[in-house]
């Protein structure tokens, strides 16, 4: 009798664990493809990219020191980026400086997207061959980093940014400053 209970108990425990993990995935609390974030608290890697709109102009990380700013990696090939786009526009309206990085895209498509839907960015760097992406440990889009006034990465969000994740991870860094 006792011996028969042991496998049953193991089964119930495992089933419970699996349901718990599925639940967490369903709520977006857990993503098995996530890899641990390496960058929080570290200085943001410097970059110099050409501007999406003007190959003759440069977008440099050094130009944004002295106040907190966001770096948003996106691409027109990425459906979640389209979904996120209106929210970025509302952040712009609140005066949040966002530097966009058009990743693995063509200039024409990147430009067309921003012309049609509005441009939430103070500047857009063009990164067709993952120069910045690899340097910043990006492996999917959209991905948003928060860099503080001293150039330290303070927060990072994978996937489309929304009000909930904004309040959770980002908002406080802008409140302190004002």
């Amino acid at each position: 009798m006792n011996k028969a209970v042991i496998p049953l108990a193991i089964f119930v425990a495992l089933a419970g664990l699996f349901f718990y993990v599925l639940e967490q995935m369903g709520e977006g609390e857990y993503n098995p493809r996530d890899i641990p974030t390496e960058f929080i608290g570290r200085p943001a890697p410097a970059f110099t990219l050409t501007s999406l709109f003007d190959p003759g102009r440069q977008v440099r990380s050094a130009d944004y020191q002295g106040r907190p700013w966001l770096l948003n990696v996106w691409g027109t090939w990425c459906p979640e980026c389209w979904r996120e786009h209106p929210y970025l526009l509302t952040l712009k309206a609140r005066g949040i400086p966002i530097v966009g990085i058009d990743w693995r895209d063509t200039r024409e498509e990147g430009q067309a997207m921003l012309q049609q839907n509005g441009n939430p960015f103070v500047a857009v760097g063009f990164d067709p061959d993952s120069q910045l992406a690899i340097d910043w440990g990006v492996y999917g889009a959209p991905e948003t980093f928060l860099i503080d006034a001293k150039g330290i990465i303070r927060a990072k969000h994978k996937g489309a940014l929304d009000e909930r994740s904004w309040q959770e991870k980002f908002a406080k860094w802008f409140e302190e400053k004002q």
């Binding site: 890899i35 641990p36 693995r104 992406a133 690899i134 910043w136 440990g137 492996y139 999917g140």
Partner: protein, 158 residues
């Protein structure tokens, strides 16, 4: 039947077609080329997470291969390149995780489980053997049993 065969034939071509997506890189030395091959099979593609970057056609994997190539060309050592990737993508980017306190269970766990399995198996065998030994009867017992059976064979037929 012919169509089925043709289908299998086409299917068999798929891996071959996938394997041809290798960039043509020039290396300074055979050693550099060896390093490149080793590195690209040791680094994980972050998009298709069960492939190394040598194997993956994901665009990020292509760019990572290119990055590895450029760093080798700059004279970076293998260790420097692995460190560079780990600093950006974490230990996850390595197919061979380092041996430290966080990964101890990962490295030692399977051996531990194996040792436990051996232990329990040996115990079960020795127990079974002991039970067998106990079941064996001494000569005296056998004689007595035979006597008893002979004494009252009629009883059971009553």
């Amino acid at each position: 039947m012919k169509q089925l065969l043709l289908g299998f034939l086409m299917l068999s071509l798929v891996p071959w077609a996938a394997a041809t997506n290798i960039e043509a890189y020039d290396f300074d030395s055979p050693q550099q080329e060896r390093d490149y091959k080793e590195l690209t099979t040791e680094l994980r593609c972050l998009v298709c997470q069960n492939q190394d970057i040598a194997d993956s056609n994901a665009e990020l994997a292509q760019d990572m291969r290119h990055k590895v190539y450029r760093m080798l060309k700059q004279g970076k050592t293998k260790q420097e390149i692995v460190d560079f990737m780990v600093r950006r993508y974490g230990d996850f980017v390595r197919y061979k995780p380092p041996f430290d306190t966080r990964t101890l269970v990962l490295w030692v766990g399977p051996f531990l489980i194996f040792a436990l399995a051996i232990f329990f198996m040996l115990r079960a065998i020795s127990r079974a053997r002991r039970r067998e030994e106990r079941a064996e009867l001494s000569e005296e017992q056998i004689n007595r049993a035979a006597d008893l059976l002979e004494e009252n064979p009629s009883k059971s037929t009553d």
